[in-house]
Subunit: 383 residues, 4 copies
């Protein structure tokens, strides 16, 4: 299958194309061979991110001043695509988001303290919002940070935290006052290494995304200096979280299209080789029509995502379009993956087949990053 | 609903925006008020097209040399959108296609003879391919044109011909030899006014598209000079038909998105005004989520169609992408229209409500212009 | 296609089978030939129902005491199926419901007065609930009946009333007091012949169901004797309406399955005869698989409907199951009809083809009889 | 949620109800507590089946003569349901099928030899048809059994064999001659204990159904006496396989409905307890409507499956209906499970939550037992 062309948008530069090639080579050569082991152990070895950092591929979008490669968000999104299609856990998605919180709201001091290390992969970051009783509705957050002296004392628990067990740096959403609405919530940055009172609970056993560590976190009288309060003022968490949302959603949307394209390649290869009843599986009209539908979805989505990326870079991606990208792309990802898997027959159900894993991995895309129901709530507000 | 932005592509010029405004004003002022009458009588009064021609809006894409306004295909597509959203029968779609056959394959003589009149709306054109026994499979065409002296004698019948009863000029696909494959087919141009042996059968009663005349045509020893053979050489029909396909399909795709956007506007207005159980219909979460999905489809489609238009203008729209546009957009059009209609309750089933008509109109988009099954066959060939 | 067997349930007696045969013969011989004319004029000639009455087929379920044929509800449902598959407007559905209101809640006097004439087809009945501003939410009903002397004075308007222009007897939902909830609503029976102040508005032009008259009704100081208050006590309308709901919904569900089965027959016949690319349309795998899916839906639905009928006769059909039957069967009807139509290519869009009409007819089934959204609301209450 | 009633069919006896109660108690008490361990180790401990056998629940449908409990197929189907809803691997499905091959085609000698042990759970059976290169199309089977002396020598490999690693008795489809069509295939029964040349390959790692061992099998010069040829005559495999198909498919259909009902219970419980934005998740209209749809599917399916069971017991279940049951029920199972999972938010993706496991388990139902594409091929033949 020769990929269909799309209109070349400004962001699709020669530089981006070269970056993609380099990323693919690096990922296939250095990371992909370890994936199976990572899936078995349930997490990516921390050291890996240093390597990625050394390549300038961990936060390529950061200015050199902050340790980055002076690229733009498109570089990061290209990384997500390339990791995704090779099945390397995209732990970098929360890492880059954390970095942008710091970049956009952090004090200069905070930026200097954390960004370069994050870019080098010395610190891997996570974001801890969700709690056992508060996911979609962040107002329900109970983890408290109480001001004591020149610091905060944190108590509570988080769950479903990506990179939860391997991250050295956590951006934690905490309640700093009982005020209603978002007013009571703040972002505090924790360096987890040897942090007293901080404990990683279980690495949760998921139905997919096996190589990514999703963990429970516990905070028992965890003490951090006030300097760790992001931006230095309390009660800003909501605004801080909101303004990164378009970018965050795009991280999921590009993953969706990358995985769909990969799945299509795999399925076309397989069905053109597999024989039944004296012909290839691809030659059955049902196969051809269904794959034509999947390829159509893929092409439409690629065009759509390209457009969103351009607008993201231009600073003109409205939040509503980002919600649409998140929900539509993830919805279609699950549909296409389900169609594709079917054409593998029994092999499609075997974890050793990439299609099987990609199928199980896809399911969570409708859930995290704001469930698709929440996306629709938000889209409807703009109607 | 504020329309979401999309990246501005080169074709989206100031000129195009002004043309759209002018077109909308003209259509709403001069054409829309007659729609109901046209629906009742089953066709648009021939004279209307002269008016459109006078405005330079019938074949705006033609060079001034040929009587056009010196615009490009985007101007024509904008017209299709504006007609479509106002429910004016888009008889111009086959008209422009016929014009492009002549423009691209006609001899200079033929171009001079027909194009200016077509641009002025003196001649309204139709394309007659389909026969009672041959639709998807044009190899089955039986209408014969036998060479006699310096002309052809045509016998046979066509059906489902748009503008069939009102067109003055018909591009007819005829069999000029018994050769297999496309080799035996040719395009002959007929001027129908007073043409002996030519007869328009019934205007067919359709479940929608009531204002557009779809008719049966009969040819009994119809004689035309050899000069009416398009391009002057026999056996070229297949190649001629094929190379216009991307454009033809785009005419249907832009109609789809225009109608979807119109339907959404209507439905948002209605549901925000209609009350039940003490709230507006829009306020029910089911309504909001479903309309969020429809709006998402609309936005994704708009981006996709924009991209296709750019590539069409650039001469780089591959046929496969056009098949995808035709099948995907028409499929989604039917889905969205069905969702929208439902929110009107009983009113949605009443022909006096635009939503009801748009719903019934939409259905044929999955059928004509090559059925969606044929589109999938063709897409699959490229996989 | 040989219909698949289902387990024979008690209601499927020899008598029912014979009744079905007789009904089919009668309908095909006496009614079907007039359908096209009825569709053109927009209503069924009133006299027709007398003929049906004479055959004992109008209210076959009524005891002989009331002029019926001493059958049961299954006889009526069989009639609905046979009318439906022959495309005779099923005006009898509201007729039988009206009869059952009278039978179950009417005084002896009322039963004697109306039921025999209804059974004989001398009186055709309609039910008038919906108003321009109150459909799903009957609490919004504004048509008022004010007690004056020994009668009521009715003022208001109704819309979307089936048999609205042809009915001689109307069961009208009126507000008899301003009390909240259902308490303020009552059913009053009107004999419309020469009724002062009563006026039939337009017969509404619908996108389908062309032969059935759906009309607006206006009441200007319409006076009726108190004896026309159904059951003799005010404020009972809600309870009265509710308890017939399972039966009413079944009338729509059996119509759905009858139409689906008919559509499948038509489509199998057509696709097995129609040729393209050297084979029949049926022989394309896409056709076969999609029709296999449709046939599966049909079979599952037939089994389900059979079961519901048994429980209805046994007096054990819970309301929730009836809501499910209404919404699921109508939903599937629209899906199957849409699939079937597609296989007819261009012919599927021509009103002269039954499949085209059945498709357009189907759409309203998701709307009337309580919209499917309302059905889901009600089903959810039982979860 | 109070389960909706269905018409009571003859097979739904008091005895069946009591058997179900006993089965549920036994399974919940004795089997369910071990499920997690089984999922971890990838198979059910062999001894378990002895316990089940002792309870008369392994092959309850067999006559006492053969060691059974003198019940009928409904007893076995009830077991499948009860195992399925408790997530005990339904290894018994292939066991009962194997038993019925022996019962229906085996010689008296063979029945005596194997059936009582199978009923007691001393022998657990599997069926080995599929090979790496032959799944849907059994004509492609290459495992050969060559007659040598008074026995056969078997060479080849099988894959995806349920109970493959734990079965003591395998019904193997082998090629006994090069004859085309089914003629060349035969069923040979192997007792695997200490069988020279027989080797179990890997237990395959699947995306779901973790507790069920699906394995590769290898045959290297495996020798078996001719007495192991099922029925004693070669070339019968196709006919033998075919005639059990309706029953086999029903084993999958009842599993589907049992799992759906279980998933609904879990989801209703969860959504009614889980809170977000100050209300329960169930209270969102989107949740209610979607669960209403799921509950409708469940109810329709239950009625349908009940009917199929009756016809199976009556010996009147046509193969086409069984194909429909297999494909439709599995299709719906996947849809409903996907909807349900979503309502659990992040928890729905955690393997410790039953809904997550049931979702992943469901996927294979569209593949094994004949893929749904093959089902549609077969259904279409009857149209
Ligand atoms: C693999 C994985 C990785 C994750 N990584 C992170 C991470 O790194 N950091 C982090 O903070 N969190 C993370 N999450 C958590 C994730 O963001 C939440 O699971 C998600 O936001 C949903 O929250 P919840 O699970 O509490 O579901 P709930 O909020 O309890 O939702 C339950 C259901 O109710 C629906 N619902 C809720 N509100 C409405 C409404 N108003 N209308 C209609 N329906 C509604 C939801 O859509 C959902 O279907 C991760 C989750 C997973 C599974
Ligand atoms: C309103 C309207 C306007 C029209 N205007 C024009 C016009 O202006 N000029 C003109 O020439 N024609 C016109 N048409 C005709 C239209 O192009 C044809 O109806 C269409 O191409 C399908 O042909 P058919 O109707 O013969 O269907 P068929 O070719 O008979 O197809 C029947 C069914 O078989 C399916 N099928 C066919 N081949 C395959 C395959 N290989 N695999 C799977 N499925 C297959 C089709 O998809 C369809 O579902 C118009 C039609 C309509 C309804
Ligand atoms: C052909 C035809 C025949 C008819 N015959 C009769 C007849 O004989 N007698 C009679 O009395 N009426 C009749 N009706 C009227 C019919 O019953 C109503 O149209 C129907 O009940 C819907 O009411 P509405 O049109 O006012 O829609 P509305 O109630 O205005 O509904 C508009 C939309 O809002 C949705 N909605 C409403 N409430 C909710 C909610 N709580 N949650 C989510 N969504 C909601 C609806 O589902 C619908 O999509 C007929 C209608 C038609 C079209
Ligand atoms: C968990 C599990 C347990 C199993 N247990 C057993 C067991 O106990 N014993 C046993 O013998 N087998 C078992 N199987 C194997 C199973 O029966 C096969 O996987 C299945 O029949 C499909 O065969 P396949 O995998 O070779 O797919 P293929 O036959 O290669 O099919 C590949 C794809 O082509 C499609 N296809 C094939 N033919 C057509 C056609 N004519 N038209 C359109 N599409 C077509 C299929 O639907 C599928 O999508 C099991 C499989 C699994 C996953």
């Amino acid at each position: 299958m020769i990929p269909l062309q799309t209109t070349r948008l400004p962001w699709m530069t020669e530089d981006i194309a070269m970056f993609r090639d380099a990323a693919r080579r690096f990922i296939e050569g250095e990371l992909a061979p370890h994936c199976e082991r990572w899936r078995k152990q349930g997490f990516v070895d921390r050291e890996v991110w240093r390597k990625v950092g050394e390549m300038g591929m961990l936060l390529p979008e950061l200015a050199e001043e902050w340790g980055g490669a002076g690229g733009n968000l498109a570089h990061q999104l290209v990384m997500v695509e390339e990791l995704g299609r090779t099945e390397v856990p995209v732990s970098t998605s929360v890492h880059t988001i954390a970095a942008h919180y710091i970049l956009d709201y952090g004090t200069d001091e905070q930026k200097r303290r954390w960004l370069p290390k994050m870019a080098r992969g010395e610190l891997l970051a996570g974001i801890a919002m969700t709690e056992p009783d508060a996911g979609s509705d962040l107002q329900g957050i109970r983890t408290r940070a109480v001001r004591e002296g020149d610091g905060y004392v944190i108590n509570g628990a988080k769950t479903f935290i990506t990179n939860g067990a391997t991250a050295h740096l956590l951006v934690v959403v905490v309640r700093t006052s009982a005020e209603k609405g978002g007013k009571g919530l703040s972002l505090i940055v924790l360096e987890t290494e040897g942090l007293a009172g901080f404990r990683v609970g279980r690495i949760l056993d998921k139905i997919g995304q096996k190589g990514s560590d999703t963990a429970e976190l516990f905070f028992d009288d965890v003490r951090v200096p006030a300097a760790n309060l992001l931006g230095g003022a309390e009660g800003q968490a909501f605004a801080q979280l909101m303004s990164q949302l378009p970018y965050e959603r795009m991280l999921l949307a590009v993953l969706a299209i990358a995985v769909i394209e990969r799945a299509l390649e795999l399925t076309l290869d397989y069905t053109k080789a597999r024989k039944a009843f004296g012909q290839t599986v691809f030659d059955f009209q049902n196969t051809r029509h269904k794959l034509a539908e999947c390829a159509t979805t893929a092409h439409v989505m690629r065009v759509f995502v390209n457009d969103c990326i351009q607008r993201l870079l231009d600073g003109r991606l409205d939040a509503t379009a980002a919600y649409m990208a998140k929900s539509w792309c993830s919805e279609q990802q699950c549909k296409v993956l389900d169609e594709c898997l079917q054409f593998f027959g029994g092999y499609g159900y075997m974890s050793e087949y990439p299609i099987a894993r990609l199928w199980a991995d896809a399911r969570v895309q409708k859930i995290y990053g704001g469930t698709n129901e929440i996306m629709k709530e938000l889209i409807a507000r703009a109607l």
